[in-house]
Amino acid sequence: MGYVAVRGGLEAIENAERLVKYFRVKGDSRPIEVKQICEQFRLAVDQVMAEGSLYAPLYAATALKQAEGDTIEASFILRALGASLPRNHYAVVADTREMEIIRRISAAFKDIPGGQILGPTRDYTQRLLDFSLMDEEASEIQKFKDEFLTGLSDDDPPDFPKIVEILRQEGLLEEPPPKPVEPPVDITREALKFPAPRSARLQVLARGERGGMLAIAYSSMRGYGNIHPALGELRVGYLPLRIRHPWGEGTVYVGRVQVTEAEVISVHFTGEKEQAPKFTLGYGLCFGHNEIKAISMAVLDRTLRSVQPQAPAEDEEFVLYHIDGIESSGFASHWKLPHYVTFQSDLDRIREARKRKAGKDD
């Protein structure tokens, strides 16, 4: 009678909270510093900021500490915090050509204007467990940093033209989308309706749960769909943001956010019968350094524009309703709540139906 026994629920809740804390701190290691999580668990922090839909590295790191490393739980904490904050401004639409690049590659062309910039990537390293990390020394790290930073140029990074612009000039790509409407639809202020405007769709994707998005995007890449992506360009860097001047003219720079941007070219021909065929584009952009998510998002942005949706990844409702980690995890865990009234009703139904069947068999 587990649930029934839980009376005086408040005390039970308080005890559960204390137990959670105990499990987090029961070892004899020193408490982990939020700054350490922020700096050394960079990619987890980035994932939490994107899914929590709040660019706040220190808060994201704190949420990760509070959630003992559970990224969905940490994103949920961050999302709830964001919902309680006032919305003072909407940024003006940012131009990603202004990004300060730390990494930029194209899989479509070998040589690209500005060059392939590999940047910080694990892509070409072997995934061998690095046992030396088990007892990393501060002095050793210092030595590495001293050596590494010596002789680095501090020139501003060059400008990088967009690869897709080149294809666009050649007429191989569909026309650029019309100038975005400002302010954009805000999915936290308006319930999603279908068909969803593209700005709403991109917002849902940008804060979707990475694993969920990857699974659906992968289904399309693998065979449930006909998108055949080629990675036109992948960029990681810092994007300057501006707002309209609150009382004067023009815009004001308010800061920069790190983002990952992916542009995926669907090499599936499109176009009307009389027209020359074209490639189409899928677009992905998310907070932080998160390449799997940006690529998945770009693929899904493209699949969702299918004229005749057939595969699950091409179904707007199917994708947009099921990729939000906060919603899906909340619902999945609500099954832990007592359902004994509804189950009683179900028991009544099946007993009644069995009785009727049995009566007939006699």
């Binding site: 709830a80 309680s84 279908f194 609500h334 359902h339």
Partner: protein, 292 residues
């Protein structure tokens, strides 16, 4: 009540009832629309709360948008006041409002509930707020939202009727246990939230305003007082509530309440699911269910 001790720390840094006033106003506007079109699902921009999606965030937002300092609040889950989830939701509201709480249905001005309608009849000056997991009654026959919205608009409910008919053909009984679909004022088929069928007749011509909130699915709907609400049924296969014939509550001995079946070492026992009413009956076995 032990919740009282949390009041000292109450409301620090948060608006009264957690949500900001603009948000509350939006929810109240959508609620008014819902009241004006009984049974119609009104989309609203559901906010993220510090409670997980799927754990009552729709009901919670309704309560937060309605509650004032003078209100007396009751929160129940499965009919009980003291289970952990009810306590958790009540604590959040009390923390951010400081309102009085009660377990006594008759004394509450707002009752927030999950899966039950209280046994005791409710009055005109009370509001019952339901937590809703699936606002769309047609979801069992049609997964797409665009399509179900069209079906409602055109009163195209054939699929639902066929589903019920096929149930009877295959199982000789409609298999829907709780969340039994109802027709509101002959216009909209509505999901009454996962209340047992036993509670469904209480929706019809009630004195109380019933509000339904689905946070994750972002929908609000309502049954205003004195609205006709009928369970879907056939002339030759009538709607039936749960059968507790020959059973009574082990504690208060009632034979006319919704009972939970408990498995104990020596077999099954039954107890009232509405614990506060059960207590009243124990003190006074003649406590009526219906308003006089």
């Amino acid at each position: 009540m032990a919740i009282e001790k949390l009041l000292s720390k109450a409301r620090r840094g948060y608006n009264f009832a957690f949500l900001d006033e603009k948000t509350k106003r939006e929810i109240r506007r959508k609620t008014l629309k819902a009241v004006a079109i009984p049974g119609y699902q009104v989309p609203f921009a559901s906010r993220e709360l510090p409670i997980a999606r799927g754990w009552g965030t729709g009901g919670l937002q309704l309560t937060m948008s309605l509650i004032g300092p003078q209100d007396t609040l009751k929160v129940i889950d499965q009919g009980e006041d003291d289970v952990v989830n009810a306590v958790n939701l009540r604590t959040l509201i009390v923390k951010t409002t400081g309102v009085k709480t009660t377990a006594d249905t008759a004394r509450a001005t707002i009752v927030q509930t999950r899966h039950r309608i209280p046994e005791e009849g409710m009055r005109e000056d009370q509001i019952l707020v339901f937590q809703v997991p699936y606002p769309e009654p047609l979801r069992i026959v049609e997964p797409k939202e665009r399509e179900t919205r069209r079906m409602h608009a055109e009163i195209d409910y054939a699929k639902m009727w066929v589903f019920l008919y096929e149930n009877i053909v295959k199982w000789e009984e409609i298999t829907i246990g709780s969340r039994y679909p109802v027709m509101v004022e002959g216009r909209y088929i509505m999901d009454p939230s996962p209340i047992p069928r036993y509670d469904v007749p209480k929706l019809n011509n009630a004195r109380t305003l019933y509000l339904f909130g689905a946070g994750r699915e972002k929908r609000i709907y309502a049954i205003p007082p004195f609205t006709e609400v009928k369970p879907l049924e056939f002339e030759d296969h009538k709607f039936r509530v749960e059968d507790f014939k020959g059973k009574s509550c082990q504690l208060c001995k009632s034979t006319d309440t919704f009972l939970n079946e408990l498995i104990t070492g020596d077999g099954r026992i039954f107890r009232c699911s509405d614990t506060s009413f059960c207590e009243k009956r124990r003190n006074n076995p003649d406590t009526p269910k219906h308003l006089r």
